[in-house]
Symmetry: C2
Subunit: 92 residues, 2 copies
DNA sequence: CTGTATCCGGTTTGATACTG
DNA sequence: CAGTATCAAACCGGATACAG
């Protein structure tokens, strides 16, 4: 998730692309636009050459990240049980 | 979300169908299977006629529900700002 | 009532090519 | 480097029909 990748940091487009592994150029752009539109991330363009565009989470964005972290905690806590349940289900 | 609908209760298939408004028969079945497979919900079949199947959240499921509640809280807290940001973005 | 199987149109996505 | 446009392929969800 882009929100997790950003965290408290400020990252460039290509840095995010590397960070969020597996995401396509197109999806990254699309999601960043969405975050920007909803005021969750801020986009800062440096008018240099080559272009440099940086993204940072806003206050709402960081708050959302906190709740997402809750999900991550849940995963760490229960992922083992989930895999076990999955095996039980798939077998018998 | 089914998880929210279930909450602390035990509900029948058709009760869930009514509770989670707009969900199709197919999606409900599919999601319930997923929850069951991952050990997030428990499925109890009463071998009567007509059939009676009840669903309850397991401990991991209830824990997940707690984090989902976190998301809901976030939404209540920030939805106003999001809409405002959206308007600003769409305008200028 | 609960559940599975099939079909089918709309959406989404990655690949690719192109611009400033 | 960052971003847009386009197009075919894959995916998904709803509707429907049918079964236990």
């Amino acid at each position: 998730m882009i929100i997790e990748a950003l965290g408290e940091r400020t990252l460039r487009f290509s840095e995010l692309r590397d960070e969020v592994e597996g995401i396509s150029h197109k999806m990254l752009t699309q999601n960043l636009r969405m975050l920007e539109r909803n005021g969750l991330a801020e986009r800062k363009v440096h008018p240099t050459v080559p272009p440099r565009v940086e993204y940072t989470l806003t206050k709402p964005g960081r708050a959302l990240r906190a709740t997402v972290d809750g999900m991550c905690d849940w995963t760490h806590e229960y992922f083992g049980r989930i895999e076990a349940a999955r095996r039980r289900f798939d077998d018998g």
